[in-house]
Symmetry: C2
Subunit: 286 residues, 2 copies
């Protein structure tokens, strides 16, 4: 597997690629786990060349302490990517991404007003800006994102559609531990007791899904089902909500027949010790 | 000359073009004058195919009345483009640009804080967003902008560099009437008396340039030279300023030898009857 240590090395490679070679691209912040592996494995199946990037993007962190303690495991990450069959890994420098004078940003719209967008001001602006830059730098034909970061996936899809970007966005299902905890680089911060408690996120989402499957459609009742599970635990709930998956906003009463059919998703974010964890589960058409 | 009446017709054409055909692109809002013609003529010289677009972009107007009375002269515009040798004109519909659910925007940075960015809130966000979309839709290799809209040109260049867009930005000198008035679609709004008065913009810029050429480097003195010309006229000055051309901000004292060399430009905006006019002139290295 090739390592591109900066933009210039990447550009030599993209310039030499025949234009009909399809590049699949998996952007990451490193600390790769089975969730990332599923994205790379799918990209390898669907493309001629697979490029992963590892860049811990400072502009999408609000707290310096969170950026500082974000895990860096470069050698292990490269082993994982090589074993899965990636062509190359791109390791941009900070100057490749944010050279002197840098100032233009991508701003999400209404889909970023709530939830992660509200709790982490500036996070999605930083994420979308770096993702658009990586799309342009890599000239990817297809890109792969995990469903665990549901609002991120929603906003990347919106950006690609809104800005007519010439890249396909594909997603892979969340990979879970046996007790249901979604794989995340931040799980490493959990103590043994917290790790045990963290299974309550999945139990809460499952409770909402069970209620939905029994016919419940009221967002407030579905949300209460999640809160009922979480209140008996040590997690501090930031939000446990039901959204319209097509707008990533709280569902609204449909006013006329021309409105889109709503599709509900349960989403939640909690703090547990030193970690902040998010997860979500598609409920179905309302 | 081909007319593409919507995005789908454009896309059939771009998809059928061999990838080594260079497309030169001239985005316009129509009401073409000799300034636009110089851009198209240059694009025809430098590219295999030349595409112009005509789209009066609502998101870059702050006042509905300005949008409403913006001149629409489609048939004349198409004659001009055909005569100059353009391959095609792209006439996107509003739905091609802003379909339902559209929400992602390009936000400029510090280069938009002053001058047009301050006087026309949201203007540059609307302009950059539509320009990026047009770049993506047309898959242009080169794009052409007039120097009259100096801050627009500055921000488009920054966007292309900051977001790693795969398009070259080229500019053409401002085309002027014999008395120095810069060609603009908005000149049509001037009465005969106002048209006479409007030559004062060029006289003011020329006064700053003369002072600069005599060795004057103080921004305040160069600006006063412009105000001295304009105060004797009927124009209402919005700004008459000197900027650092590399930041599009007021020049700052250079603090250390690593600072860039400053290059000064005189810029101004005035109201004259029903028209708002802007113009600028490069002074030189400070």
């Amino acid at each position: 597997m090739i390592r591109f240590h900066n933009l210039s090395e990447l550009q030599q490679w993209t310039a030499s690629l025949p234009s009909n070679r399809a590049v699949g691209f998996v952007p990451t912040m490193g600390a790769l786990h089975e969730g990332h592996a599923s994205l790379v494995a799918r990209a390898v199946k669907e493309n001629d060349e697979v490029l992963a990037s590892i860049f811990v993007n400072p502009t999408q962190f609000q707290e310096l302490v969170d950026l500082d303690r974000y895990p860096r495991t470069l050698e292990q990450d490269c082993e994982v990517l090589e074993r899965l069959g990636a062509t190359a890994v791109y390791l941009p420098t900070e100057n490749d991404m944010y050279p002197r004078g840098f100032q233009t940003r991508i701003e999400p719209g209404e889909g970023a007003e709530w939830f992660e967008g509200e709790k982490r001001p500036g996070h999605f602006t930083g994420m979308l800006t770096v993702v658009l830059k990586l799309f342009q730098q890599t000239r990817a034909r297809r890109s792969y994102f995990g469903e665990k970061d549901a609002q991120q996936l929603f906003l990347v899809r919106r950006m690609v559609e809104d800005l007519d970007l010439n890249v396909e966005v594909l997603s892979c299902a969340t990979i879970r531990e046996p007790d249901g905890l979604a794989m995340s680089s931040r799980n490493a911060r959990l103590s043994e007791t917290e790790r045990f408690e963290s299974a309550s996120l999945w139990r809460a989402l499952s409770a909402a899904k069970s209620a939905f499957d029994r016919g419940e459609r009221r967002a407030s009742v579905l949300e209460q089902a999640m809160h009922d599970v979480l209140k008996a635990t040590a997690v501090e709930v930031e939000y446990a909500s039901v959204i319209d998956d097509l707008t990533f906003r709280p569902p609204e009463p449909t006013l006329d027949e021309h409105e889109h059919e709503q599709c509900l998703r349960a989403i939640l974010a909690v703090r547990l010790g030193a970690a902040r964890l998010i997860d979500n589960l598609l409920l179905g058409h309302a």
